[in-house]
């Protein structure tokens, strides 16, 4: 029962962390986009969805306009860590006051920073306001090295700690008894599933133990983050190209580093093939191993999760876009039914994508460590 109590305490702490957000409601400077006049609903929905798909520098749950006409944001700021031309600069993202079009300038260490479309730029020396060219690109500001704890990084940290807590708890229980108790009992069959259904058949009985740790980590990391993306916290971690690219590079490094002599032989100088076809095969195999395999891994996860988020949010937006033609009740009902069922499908997709990523990683590793019979 001790573990169950610990888990409970952990969740209380976690929920306190999230509810503390409600205390930290703050206001923006009114940027002229008041809600009173005519609003282009379609464009606003598009902007909102695109904004959600991107990573952001503050954790914002929702925003509303108060009776006084002020824009209130509910959420909490996250730390911004920048390496600019004048060295390190750190401040909280609340200093931008939720501004996203570069009109709020934050001065730190003698550099001026602005945020434009969720990206932070540093103004060139001497500039006081951002100037734009015809394509709405800033002309007198440049990019900085951004090591901020953004929303996605925050999600990764929370899930990392959660996984560390869960799985070290599961591992600790095996020292005392054979059958785990509490929440660990949910995790055990999943761990066994990944080991026995994904790692062992694809990598082979001889080598699978070495790679099971990586496959388990990647499976649970992707799965839990996919599920977190379906909660109203609005994380889109596995829908970030940088995150999926990193995961794909991990797999690439692992199967390249563990490749046997046979693997390289078959890749570079295919035995039993006519000599003139060997270089052609080598080019194809090299492109496959270093470009196509990781690229397909990263694009599949990114596109599936991003597409899922866009579909869910578009269906929720039906309630605003079809309000005129269907009436308030009709539009809300339609949107509720459609988004409910698509969310159920997304729960399935969340598992499927984690499974496929792990499965293909196991398959690629299996190809690299396989021992061929020589004729």
């Amino acid at each position: 029962m001790k573990v169950a109590k610990q888990t409970f305490k952990f969740f209380v702490l976690l929920s306190m962390l999230f509810t503390s957000a409600f205390v930290m409601a703050d206001t923006t400077i009114n940027d002229g986009k008041s809600d009173g006049g005519q609003v282009d609903t379609k464009k606003e929905v598009e902007d909102y969805i695109l904004h959600h798909i991107q990573d952001s520098h503050d954790f914002s749950l929702f925003s509303y306009t108060s009776d006084e006409g002020e824009r209130k944001h509910v959420g909490f700021p996250l730390p911004v860590i920048l390496w600019s031309s004048n060295g390190l600069a750190t401040f909280m993202s609340s200093e931008f006051h939720h501004n996203d079009d570069g009109s709020v300038i934050v001065e730190k260490n003698g550099s001026k920073f602005v945020k434009i479309h969720s990206k932070i730029y540093e103004l060139d020396a001497g500039a006081t306001t951002v100037a734009y060219d015809a394509d709405h690109h800033a002309t007198n500001a440049h990019k900085v090295w951004d090591f901020s704890i953004t929303k996605s990084v925050f999600g990764i940290l929370v899930i990392g700690l959660l996984m560390l807590f869960w799985f070290s708890g599961l591992a600790r229980q095996y020292k005392k008894k054979q059958i785990p108790t509490g929440f660990a009992r949910v995790l055990e069959p999943l761990v066994l599933y990944v080991r026995d259904e994904i790692a062992r058949p694809n990598i082979g009985d001889k080598h699978y133990r070495r790679f099971t740790g990586y496959l388990l980590t990647v499976f649970f990391f992707i799965w839990i983050l996919n599920l977190l993306g379906l909660t109203p916290f609005g994380f889109n971690v596995t829908g970030q190209l940088a995150v999926t690219a990193c995961l794909a590079i991990f797999t690439l490094v692992i199967y390249t580093a563990s490749g046997t002599k046979d693997y390289w032989m078959h890749m570079l100088w295919m035995p039993d093939a006519p000599w003139w076809i060997r270089p052609v095969l080598a080019i194809i195999e090299l492109a496959g191993a270093f470009i196509i395999k990781p690229f397909s891994l990263l694009v599949r996860l990114f596109a599936n999760i991003s597409a899922g988020h866009i579909v869910v949010m578009s269906l929720i937006a039906i309630m605003f876009t079809l309000k005129e033609s269907l009436g308030v009740v009709g539009a809300t009902g339609l949107s509720l039914v459609l988004s409910f069922f698509i969310t159920l499908i997304e729960v399935l997709v969340a598992f499927l994508q984690a499974y496929i990523f792990t499965m293909l990683s196991a398959l690629f590793i299996g190809m690299a460590v396989a021992e061929h019979e020589h004729h």
């Binding site: 058949p201 690229f295 397909s296 891994l297 694009v299 599949r300 596109a303 599936n304 499927l352 499974y355 496929i356 499965m359 293909l360 398959l363």
Partner: protein
């Protein structure tokens, strides 16, 4: 405009492919129910590869 037509073509192609994979897997399972697990695994891998291709094309065309 053209990238929308392209996206439609990609989706048609991917749909035909997925239909083939799913249909053949069903046939295989009906013929040999004891091989269901293996067929399903292979089906999902091939479907994933196809999906990667389709998403890659959509992504490049965007």
């Amino acid at each position: 405009m053209y990238n929308l037509i392209g996206a439609g073509l990609i989706v048609i192609g991917a749909g035909i492919g997925l239909g083939q994979i799913g249909g053949k897997a069903m046939e295989g399972i009906a013929r040999q129910p004891e091989a269901t697990g293996k067929i399903q695994t292979a089906m999902i891998i091939i479907a994933a590869l196809l999906e990667g291709l389709a998403f890659g094309a959509l992504f490049l065309g965007k």
